[in-house]
């Protein structure tokens, strides 16, 4: 049995689920649930409702598979009480009662009243009980028995596969050979951050699974939306609405979505882009969505936004993906390139039902049904959807100039990189195609765009997804790192082959690229003279199932590293996010285990969807596809929960807690984000950095397109502010320069989009935010 098959075998984890968990009346809030557990009627209930997910904690991560009880003791009296009842509730059972008194954030999230909390085998909160009430304790006992009856089996491989341990061990053994500084780590501090955002999927990534582009997930973007110098986070969602989380300092966030007026809940969200479209000094927000229209929000300057889509010219309705702001004609106003993938859904809509897994009521939201052959869309010209270039006319109005400027691209494009490929001072566009050849459009003086893909890049990744231009080896020019997701779908491989290029299994009739493809990630090294060489394998840039990347200097040594979100979910195995440490500009070194990004705390899989085998889901294709015949079905309870591997889609690298080092925030598929906080500032107190905030005057205010060169001792660093912070992610925040051992900046030079070159002579102090304003 292959590794993949073994995982697939283990994927179905049945439990007899409560029939009541889909109903609104069984979805009590914290307060009401506390009171209801002690009333008589609830004593008779067969299954307690699902209230919410238990936060993932190291000390409880291995408790998956059996119910357990968390205690939050707030006084010595309560401690005595809990100790007294511990014997009562554990009698005759292998039951863990875990004291989480010091986990204040968890307590606030799941049990603000300081009670006992019953958690089921799937890490879901199923009841809260007052330890002082005998009646409540009786209710706990009754509910506990019910939960025990639900559990049939939770295979350990789902949450804690053996190959991850082997992989971790192998990588850790390489740590000493990495020259770059790596004696620091990341830890997921989402609970402590206060962020409660939950990404939710449409059914076609779950119980109605099919190979359709919904599985690309949603983006996350970052900007200081209210001018308090703290970076705020906007999460995009497929179901249930996008959310804006305001940074209140010290790594904490608060949900201000409603207050800020940026709630988008009636459409499947895809990406988010922050950029100052009206040059008034605050970042505006553009959100792309599926079919129901993209949305443009104007920032009113005080943390509130106004929907100005109508009349803006940016309300395109289609299969939009990433939106990239840049000033193609250098008139001082940001234009936007909108990447449209291609038609992967039909006009037909259907209802979202996936939320029931979380014990929430169905929302009534609908989504467009995906084509069963969506992944062959590139074979059908009628499904092409041209990407768009919009010119900013001023006054918050945009005009589609794609055709007029010769930028008529019908590739299956999900993102784009604005980069001056031919070094003529005009920002060009590199367009990755997720199903075919990438394309390059050279900007001819802001007057037209000329196609030059094959001439400049004879071979490109077949399934290009994410892209980032940055100076890998600090030689003063921009290299291009492109991730290839779709080539990795031609064959399901084991973890041992993840650093290899794909052994392409698809036919030439499907690929249709006629020998022009690389089947895996590409790293195009710029030779500084207008040529690019593909060097991904020699640099160690290959990985498996990559979506996109965020690049910045995670160890502040002066060389940009990369975080590559990499995963699939149900029905496939776990995919490992790659953290690639740039080892002195010579090659990338795999370091996700070394730096604590992997394995995730709490396991690698979560309940993905629920099936009502005798009701609504009877005969669903997914049942047969999972190999469940009549005999197998006869052994299952009426309702089963199917687990899926967790997986990241989008990411942003930025300093979220303002401690000078860089952290990582992700947007996951069907789960909470990860808030990976770095401890570099503690582990290497003498580290050195510079943040550069650019304020354009003649140029666009966000200074997108500006080139900054820093000289610090013998280090010469160069970065371009392009806003591109990850897959489906476009942000607006200061550039970050790690300075290694340098303690001061000797020289800083800004080449503004207007053409103005500004020099800030040193010495300037390191470890500061330096604001540079373009001379009028």
């Amino acid at each position: 049995m292959t590794l993949t098959s073994r995982f697939l075998c283990l994927w179905l984890v049945p439990i007899g689920l409560l029939s009541s968990c889909n109903k609104n009346e069984d979805e009590p809030d914290t307060e009401s649930s506390v009171s209801t557990v002690v009333i008589e009627e609830d004593m008779d209930r067969v299954h307690p409702p699902v209230l919410e997910f238990m936060p993932m904690l190291k000390e409880t991560s291995l408790l998956t598979g059996v119910p357990w009880v968390a205690s939050f003791i707030s006084s010595p009296q309560e401690k005595t009480l809990v100790e007294a009842i511990r014997g009562q509730i554990t009698a005759g059972r292998d039951l863990q009662v875990v004291e989480l008194t010091n986990e204040l954030d968890v307590r606030q999230a799941v049990s603000p009243e300081g009670l006992l909390v019953l958690v089921d085998a799937y890490q879901r909160v199923r009841g809260r009980y007052d330890s002082k009430s005998p009646r409540a304790i009786n209710a706990l006992m009754t509910d506990l028995s019910a939960l025990e009856a639900e559990v049939l089996n939770v295979p350990p491989d789902v949450r804690d596969p053996e190959w991850m341990k082997e992989r971790a061990k192998a990588q850790l053994a390489t740590a000493d050979s990495i020259q770059a500084f790596h004696d620091f780590s990341f830890s997921d501090r989402r609970e402590a951050s206060g962020i409660r955002f939950m990404h939710k999927i449409v059914d076609e990534s779950g119980k109605r699974f099919k190979g359709v582009h919904y599985d690309h997930g949603s983006g996350v973007a970052v900007a200081d939306i209210d001018g308090d110098e703290q970076l705020d986070i906007y999460f995009v969602n497929q179901v249930g609405g996008n959310e804006l989380w305001r940074n209140v300092g010290d790594g904490k966030f608060e949900n201000i979505t409603e207050r800020a007026g940026v709630f988008v809940s009636d459409r499947v969200g895809v990406s988010a882009s922050f950029a100052d479209i009206d040059n008034d000094g605050d970042p505006d927000l553009y959100v792309t969505a599926l079919r129901k229209g993209n949305v443009l929000f104007e920032n009113l300057g005080d943390g509130r936004f106004r929907n100005i889509t109508a009349g803006s010219g940016l309300g395109y309705k289609g299969h939009s993906s990433g939106a990239v702001f840049f000033d193609y004609d250098r008139d001082g106003f940001l234009d936007v390139f909108l990447a449209n993938v291609g038609q992967y859904t039909k006009a037909e809509t259907t209802k979202v039902t996936m939320e029931s897994i979380r014990g929430e009521a169905e929302t009534g939201e609908t989504y467009h049904v995906g084509f069963a052959d969506a992944f062959g869309g590139h074979l059908k010209p009628e499904r092409e959807e041209m990407s768009r270039l919009y010119r900013n006319l001023g006054g918050k109005k945009f005009e589609d100039v794609s055709v007029a400027l010769g930028l008529e691209d019908n590739g299956w494009t999900g993102d784009a990189a604005p980069v001056d490929i031919d070094s003529d001072g005009w920002t060009d566009l590199y367009l990755p195609s997720m199903q075919g050849d990438d394309e390059v459009y050279l900007n001819k003086g802001g007057k037209k765009f000329e196609r030059a893909g094959r001439e400049l890049f004879p071979k490109t990744p077949w399934g290009s997804m994410g892209i980032k231009a940055f100076d890998f080896e600090n030689d003063g020019d921009l290299d291009l790192y492109i991730t290839d997701m779709h080539s990795d779908m031609s064959e399901h491989i084991g973890p041992e082959r993840e650093k290899e290029k794909a052994d392409m299994k698809w036919t030439s009739s499907f690929l249709k690229t006629d020998g022009t493809s690389v089947y895996g990630n590409a790293f195009f090294r710029n030779d500084g003279a207008g040529s690019f060489e593909e060097v991904s394998d020699s640099l160690g840039a290959e990985n498996y199932w990559p979506w996109g990347l965020s690049a910045d200097d995670l160890n502040a040594d002066g060389f940009d590293d990369a975080f590559v979100t990499s995963s699939m979910n149900f029905p496939l195995r776990y995919g490992v996010n790659s953290l690639l440490i740039n080892d002195g500009g010579e090659r990338f070194r795999d370091a996700e285990f070394i730096l604590g990004v992997e394995p995730r705390v709490g396991g690698l899989a979560v309940p993905w969807f629920e099936l009502d085998l005798i009701g609504a889901d009877k005969g669903a294709p997914v049942i047969e596809a999972m190999g469940l015949d009549e005999v197998a079905l006869g052994k299952l309870p009426e309702r089963v929960v199917v687990w899926g591997a967790m997986g990241s889609r989008s990411s942003v690298i930025f300093d979220l807690d303002d401690d000078g080092d860089l952290d990582i925030v992700t947007n996951e598929m069907n789960h909470h984000p990860m808030v990976l906080v770095s401890d570099l500032s503690e582990k290497k107190p003498d580290f050195s950095y510079l943040k550069v905030k650019l304020v354009g005057t003649k140029s666009n205010r966000s200074a997108l397109g500006a080139v900054v060169r820093v000289v610090a001792g013998d280090m010469k660093l160069m970065k371009v502010k392009d806003g591109q912070t990850g897959y489906l992610s476009h942000s607006d925040f200061p550039l970050y320069f790690g300075l290694g051992s340098a303690k001061q900046i000797d020289r800083l030079e800004v080449t503004w989009p207007s053409g103005t070159v500004q020099v800030v002579d040193g010495p300037s102090a390191a470890n500061q935010l330096l604001t540079v304003t373009e001379p009028e």
Partner: protein
């Protein structure tokens, strides 16, 4: 008399062949007399193959004669399928509304697995296949086809 018997014995197979030809349905006849020796339509739907030989149909079981040129015309009603027989090195896609085909001539009798490819919507069941390809002698094929068309 002996001469007559000899003539009858000589002509009998030809007469049988002519009669068989006459009773064969017209489009099956056409399938066997095109540029290739045999044309079969393979249609994917519901993660399974159906094979059509004129008016004869077979679900999941593709029976072909050895030594004849075969054109397999691939169609799909829903997902993207891959007609894949790793043993014989055959691989081609079937996509709704598009036409693809694969031509080959089997040199040896034998039974082979038609693999299920990840592109067929999804592949969850471990080891699941999409049917078999049976290469049989030409006479066996004719008998099978006759039965299949009843």
């Amino acid at each position: 008399m002996k001469r007559n018997r000899f003539t009858i014995l000589l002509l009998l197979p030809m007469v049988v062949a002519v009669v068989l030809w006459a009773v064969l349905p017209r489009h099956r006849r056409a399938a066997m007399s095109s540029g290739d020796d045999l044309v079969v339509e393979a249609r994917g739907y519901g993660r399974a193959w159906q094979f059509s030989y004129g008016d004869a149909r077979s679900d999941g079981r593709l029976v072909l004669p050895v030594g004849l040129n075969v054109e397999l015309r691939l169609r799909s009603d829903d997902f993207i399928y891959v007609f894949s027989c790793p043993d014989l090195g055959l691989k081609e896609i079937a996509v709704p509304d598009l036409k693809f085909s694969v031509g080959f001539k089997a040199e040896q009798v034998g039974t082979h697995t038609l693999a299920m490819d990840p592109m067929c919507g999804f592949q969850l069941a471990p080891g699941k296949t999409m049917g078999t390809l049976e290469i049989v002698s030409q006479s066996q094929f004719r008998r099978w086809l006759l039965n299949a068309s009843k």
